[in-house]
Symmetry: D2
Subunit: 425 residues, 4 copies
């Protein structure tokens, strides 16, 4: 008879694995093959790589008799795990037309069956705990790739002049979010990061440690597309005094005049989305801006971005937490119908750039072995984003979650929440 742990693990495993296939379902083999830029990966690759993770870290380790589905796949679908062996150059992923999307589906099924059998066959509690730990990591890893899959396919489809849609989804009704309000926080010392017994967290959310918080205020909502249009109208993309030096250069080299996916048409600014191209809605949160743009906007608005500690502290003290929800294909509009000022859109719409460089927490150590090559090695030249986005799978968001990207990238669902200093009393 299965233990409740086993049952939960099996259920979670099936849910997450099936979710990946559901996200890929609207995509043809052609769609699943192309790689739009070195930062992105083909859908097919995401499906195979997440499977490779279970094959390598679960089956190879816990099932002595397991034979790899295809020995070449270790080379093709390893990503950054240098410790596991050579890997295929990431910019060349779109060249791997074989295995086909169908064969990747076979690979997934074979591995899923073997993992399910393994879960069911485990008898020792000790082994069950070990297995549960690595499967849990594998599922959170796969959820990350689910978000990447949507980001990446959005980018790929944007390069097709015919502007195809990924799928249909009703446009959320537009409502004026009303003026931005400030929520104030007093000086304190705050415990940041997840405590060991609070559930799953990536290594980079540990160890929990104290941070000094100075008095600050946080905007109650995200900056809207309409507010961004004001920034553009005030020449925000052409005033070097608003920009960091590297940002100014990037802006020039990449000829930014608006957020990614915006383009002008005869009737005004339009937006490429996963549901097709449509006019920019001034009420929706601005999305697909780089850290450089977010930072310039904040300077223009006489404000700043929050530190990641301020953000986490604010979420803690206001009991903000992600609601259970389906993945959406676009960030939604918030309403102003609340009678009290509260933090809105903390989760589920746009990731929020912080002013914190992505660096290890005091006392951080990466796990030993290949799994340790997960987060630590990206702790340079990247900035932390907090919250979650419309693309984030259900169950993947949490208050302590640290997302990160280079300050000049824009293909992620990243928006802007302002902060400002309060005078110390």
């Amino acid at each position: 008879m299965r233990s409740p742990t086993t049952t939960r693990l099996l259920e979670a495993f099936h849910i997450v694995r099936n979710q990946t296939e559901s996200l890929a379902a609207p995509l043809s083999p052609e769609d699943q093959t192309a790689q739009s830029m070195p930062d992105t990966s083909p859908t097919k690759w995401h499906r195979a790589h997440t499977t490779w993770f279970f094959e390598t870290f679960v089956l190879d380790r816990f099932v002595p008799s397991y034979r790899p589905f295809d020995p070449d796949f270790n080379y093709l679908f390893n990503s950054y795990y240098d410790a596991i062996g050579d890997r295929h150059p990431r910019a060349q992923r779109g060249m791997v037309t074989r295995p086909t999307a169908t064969e990747v589906g076979d690979y997934r099924r074979v591995v899923d069956i073997a993992v399910a059998e393994l879960i069911e066959s485990i008898e020792s509690e000790d082994e069950e705990a070990q297995l549960a730990e690595v499967i849990q990591l594998g599922l959170h890893h796969e959820q990350q790739h689910q978000e990447l899959l949507l980001m990446d396919i959005k980018h790929l489809l944007s390069l097709n002049p015919t502007e195809p849609a990924y799928a249909a989804e009703p446009k959320i009704e537009s409502r004026d979010p009303g003026p931005l309000e400030w929520v104030e926080f007093a000086a304190t010392t705050s415990a940041i990061g997840l405590a060991p017994d609070e559930g799953f967290a990536f290594d980079n959310e540990h160890p929990r440690h104290d941070q000094l918080i100075r008095p600050f205020a946080l905007a109650d909502r995200l900056i809207t597309a309409g507010e961004w249009l004001d920034f553009m109208a005030d020449d925000g993309y052409h005033r070097p005094d608003l920009w960091l030096s590297d940002g100014w250069q990037t802006r020039g080299a990449q000829e930014w005049e608006a957020p990614l996916y915006w383009k002008t048409s005869s009737s005004g600014w339009e937006l490429h989305t996963l549901t097709g191209t449509r006019p920019v809605d001034p009420n929706e949160p601005v999305c697909h801006v780089s850290f450089y743009e977010a930072d310039a906007y904040a300077r223009w608005a006489n404000a700043r971005l929050a530190t990641e500690f301020e953000w986490e502290h604010a979420a803690q003290v206001t009991d903000s937490s992600p609601a259970s929800r389906e993945v959406h294909l676009h960030p939604g509009v918030t309403s102003s119908n609340s009678s009290t000022v509260e933090l809105k859109q903390m989760f589920g719409e746009c990731w929020q750039w912080t002013e914190s460089a992505y660096r290890p927490y005091p006392g951080y150590t990466a796990p030993p072995g290949a799994i340790g090559e997960y987060n630590g090695k990206f702790m340079i030249n990247t900035m932390v984003l907090r919250g979650s986005s419309a693309f984030t799978p259900d169950g993947h968001a949490r208050v302590s979650y640290r997302n990160f990207f280079h300050p000049g990238t824009r293909w992620h669902l990243s928006g802007v929440r302002l902060a400002k200093d309060l005078n110390e009393q």
Copy 2:
């Protein structure tokens, strides 16, 4: 009742159009989508572009009621015809995942039916002649793309670490071709290029005109892989005195140590081919060398490449002409069993680099309109190759044919035939 001309035209149309689909048949949608480098195109694109040609230059012109299959296709599948309108950047062809390979098949069928109906419905002889001319051009254009399709898919599959084969084909039995012999030609004035009434030719083969021929000798066969290994063993890739200056730089930048698709293994040099990877056969003609390499080899061998005029003159006076044959997946070996010295391998194995820059013949004029953007605009920085290759479709080769590539490219089936000066008597 159909005229014999109509019947022949219909038959030719079906043969060539079906041949393209046969060549694409072994390829999955994934294989047909990827673009391996800016010089190449996806299979799907070749299939669609050749169809677009008939839609644009035949149906749009001769069938007033014709409605384009999809108006976007004019943008997506136009290639270099700037006169027809904007076109999709060629390096981005791999990003166009939609239309799918299946939809491109539908496109082909719809256009084929419309063209066939048009051919059958023509009544005036004058119109028939006009139609035949443009269809004939379209078919020769499609045959060029059939060769490109094979070149391009060979390159794409070479980037897959699993080294997949395109298809199976029996390896031709290896035979020692024997020592290279010289065929001598006396000084004369020779008429070069096709005369107006000799059948179809591209614009660049006109006008027929005289060229002075000095006494020269032409090698009776192509240089073999075994002879190329001698060049390599004699440090041919590391002696700047053998190379043109631009070639020496290209060699360094691209780190050439052997022809394209050659790689070392524990048991010697191996070769990527459309039928898989196998050892280099010293008897087979060397292939996939750039002009720079061919020129360096010739200098090393105390010889030179022929001018394109010498090559054509030699072909004329020896009555060399292409045999009717199927497309092969690899150039074959020649035998030495002839008792007399004669020119072998002039057609059907490897294109032969000449020492002639690709420039217009005296009096050349491009046809008016978009069709004129066919050949003339590439008459710079390119060198002429003569003959044909294993990939050249049946009926596409002829003595006056001028192929051309930049001197540093290697993904075409290009080999080496030596020439040398003879003393004038």
Copy 3:
């Protein structure tokens, strides 16, 4: 009669301005003209740009009748002050052969005389204070450029195959520094940054604010070249597990196998220095390493780099402060002859990479106007270095000083001081 303030200001002005000319004196007009890479500037440019600072921010502002020495110079010798107007592209500075080095000398003299006259003529105390503030900033700015001048000329001379020396200087006697010892520091809250009344500091050292310090230990000296050779011998440059991801890529792209300026010779590793090429001394501190290399070394050594707060706190509590000293042409060796463990080489040898990203202190605001474009705009993608180097001019170093560079640059005198966590008691 001059006030003591005026006298001190005049004296400081002459000392710093003359020091620049002394540093340039060994360099021919040819040496002063070339720019070795976009990161560096010609000597001539440094001499002119520092002069332009006084012309623009002092003479233009305080001397209404002042006429610019040459109106073109505002365009040529403005650096990053976008607010002042267009500026000459920084990568093109080596193309500006006119004005000549001699004319730049004339420019310096004219501006020096005008500034000195201005200082002497000031009567109001208020104006004197304003003037003193901007002149002081100008002098510290010029001292920064003195260090850059030496860094830049070192890089330029390294590109000359004849390996010329900038000047002669006696090699410091080599002594074994003995084993590395650890100096321990207890948990506390520490005030970081300079207080307003503690003397001159750049804007980025403000505001003074509290930081939590966890228990840590700091190495008593810099890592030596000998210790670096151990890292190299243990394959440190070829183990991806030791490197940050961006660092690993940079290492590969730039083919790093050793610190900048090291090269192999038949008798072992040699070093390009301003006094010529000589063997690497295992006792000298390793220098010219990037953050990526310093970080990889620390990981290899089971340690880490200090945060900039730990470094400043350690300097404060141990009363470390820079000694008054001349500029040296190479970092020196330390000795182990102290009977007690103490922090050595904190100043005057090599800048020390910290693990802190260069970001604004809480409450930081850039000064208004063009002078505010000084430090804040570089607070992205850069890491903080603390201490000072052999090239740092006398009087320019201080405990709160924040130097910064991109993590992949190496032409600065940057070395490694290790830190490690202590268990909290």
Copy 4:
């Protein structure tokens, strides 16, 4: 007593060597050091490289006791002579600040004295002939570098925003050249290239050989800047049908809208010249256009460029030959005051692009050894220019001279002379 040959040789040697120093005289050490792009070289380098030629090919060979001035110079000032040994990367020539310009002057004097002594000391006629041959080659080589020196310094000064002049020279009076007229030539067979006894020629002008000439007409003068303005006004830079494919790409990538050195001002088009910036004179010949532009212009004008054989034939039969003249700093205007139509501006104003690719003449062989690396290795991807320019030194031009550049370069004094086919009678 000196033989007349010796006397002439000595005189020629002094004239050419002094001419180089005269051309460098207006340039400061700073001007002589910078390299503006990989295609160009510093003045200092030209002065040293031409001296190195005499040291290597004359003194090392004919004076057994000769010791090199500086052994490093063989590495620093060798250019493309790979056979002589490694050489300094050409794009890094601007980094070699030492030796100084003064030291290069010393180098020149020492070598000049040694060569002069050698010439005077030769006793055997045989040795005199050998010596004369290589010195003559060295002098023609140096004259080529004199033209390059002016081209290169013009380019360098153009990058200085202050637009400095190299020297003063009276502007030639502007005169309307009148309408372009055509000079006709009948079909014939023409001997091309210099015969062995006709005086000095580079290897690429040999062997003399026959070329078929078809009936053609040649424009009597160069295209003027005014005519070029018509081409620009007719959208010549924006019509892809006028351009070769590689040219269209280059135009786009380099954003060409006019010839090199042209720029718009409030009062119209201006021109950077060695004598400063001034308005474009519609009567002067257009200059600094690439082959791509020249070819597009010719197509626009319903004409073509001449082949190099047509050009040489036309010069032969019209007895065109270069007049003895000083170097000018800008190409001049021609007049229309001749009552008969004749070929004007064949020499001394702008080199004239031909439609001929630069390839070896039939039977061409490069001289053995390092001197053979002179011309042959550039016979690819380059187009022939005929005539000479304002910068060409006296005595360096001749009817058979073949100049050559890549079709996309523009820093040479290159202009346009049209040709057209005549109907065969």
